[in-house]
C-alpha cells in the first residue's frame, strides 16, 4: 500500500514528534510561570516554538513538499533543544487562570497527538501482522 510507507516513518511522524516536543516546552513554561506566581517582578515565559509552526501550516497538506517539511521539522526540533523558552511579550505578569487554561489546552493537545499517532501506527501494525493478533 502506498500510504503505509509515509505512516511508518514519513512527514506525519516527524511533525507529530515536533509537536509533542513543543507541547513539553510549553508545559515547562507554564510550570515555571505557575511556580513563580507570587514572585515580584517576574516576567512570564512562553515556548519559542509557536512562531516557527506558523510557517509550516500552509505546507503540510501538500504531499509533494514532504521532504522539505521533514527538513524544516527536523531543524525546528534541534532549535527547541537549545533555547526553548523566551519571555512572553503579551503577559506583563502571571495570571493564574490563564495559565491553568493553557495547561489544560496543552495537556489535551499532547494526549490527542499521542492517541492519534498510536492509532496510525496501529494501522501499519495490522498490515504487518496480517490481521492476526
Amino acid at each position: 500500500m502506498s500510504q503505509i510507507d509515509p505512516v511508518l516513518g514519513g512527514a506525519t511522524s516527524q511533525l507529530v514528534s515536533v509537536a509533542l516536543d513543543a507541547a513539553m516546552a510549553r508545559h515547562a513554561a507554564i510550570a515555571a510561570n505557575i511556580a513563580n506566581a507570587d514572585t515580584p517582578k517576574y516576567q512570564p515565559l512562553m515556548a519559542r516554538f509557536d512562531q516557527l509552526v506558523e510557517e509550516l501550516q500552509g505546507r503540510v497538506t501538500d504531499r509533494a513538499q514532504d521532504a522539505e517539511v521533514m527538513r524544516a521539522a527536523q531543524s525546528m526540533q534541534e532549535s527547541l533543544q537549545s533555547r526553548p523558552l523566551v519571555a512572553d511579550p503579551s503577559a506583563p505578569q502571571v495570571e493564574l487562570d490563564m495559565q491553568m487554561a493553557e495547561l489544560a489546552k496543552n495537556t489535551l493537545q499532547y494526549q490527542a497527538l499521542l492517541t492519534a499517532q498510536g492509532k496510525l501506527m496501529g494501522l501499519a501494525e495490522m498490515v504487518i501482522s496480517e490481521g492476526k493478533t
Binding site: D97, M98, M100, A101, A104, K105, L108, Q111, A112, T115
Partner: protein, 146 residues
C-alpha cells in the same frame, strides 16, 4: 468548532471575575480613605464589562464557521460616579471649611453582594471549563476499548 476557543472563553470569564474581585477588595480596603497618595480624594472603582465580539466578528463567524476566540468578556476599570459620604469632624486635618470630611461613597453591603455574585460566576466558569475538558478527553476514547 475549535476546542481551544472553548478554553479561551472560559479563561477570559475567569479573568474578568478575578478583576472584579480585585476592584471590590480595593474599594472595601479604602472605605475610610480620605486622601490618596497624590492628595486627591479616593473614588471607588468599578469594572465595566463589554463583550469582546464586535458585530463584524459575529457575521464573519456565522459565514465562515470560524472560531469564537475573542468573544469573551473584556473588563475596564473606571472610577464610579458616586457622591462621597460627608461626615462632620471639625478636628480632622482633611475637614473642609464647614468641618465636613468626605469619605469615599463605598457601600459595604453592595460590595459584599457583589463578592458573592463574583464567587458564583467564577465557579460557573470553572465548571464550564471542566465540562469542555471532559468532553474533549472522551473524544480521545473514540475507537478504543476493543
Amino acid at each position: 468548532m475549535d476546542i481551544s476557543s472553548i478554553f479561551d472563553i472560559s479563561a477570559a470569564g475567569m479573568n474578568l471575575e478575578r478583576q472584579r474581585l480585585e476592584v471590590s477588595a480595593l474599594n472595601m480596603a479604602n472605605a475610610n480613605t480620605t486622601r490618596g497618595a497624590d492628595g486627591q480624594p479616593f473614588t471607588p472603582l468599578q469594572v465595566i464589562v463589554r463583550s469582546g465580539m464586535t458585530p463584524f466578528d459575529a457575521v464573519f463567524n456565522a459565514v465562515n464557521g470560524g472560531t469564537l476566540t475573542g468573544a469573551g468578556p473584556v473588563g475596564q476599570v473606571q472610577t464610579a460616579d458616586v457622591p462621597p459620604r460627608q461626615v462632620y469632624e471639625p478636628g480632622h486635618p482633611d475637614a473642609d471649611a464647614n468641618g465636613f470630611v468626605s469619605y469615599p461613597g463605598v457601600n459595604p453591603v453592595s460590595e459584599m453582594v457583589r463578592l458573592i455574585a463574583v464567587t458564583r460566576a467564577y465557579e460557573a466558569n470553572v465548571r464550564v471549563f471542566n465540562a469542555g475538558r471532559s468532553m474533549a478527553m472522551k473524544a480521545l476514547e473514540i475507537g478504543s476499548g476493543r
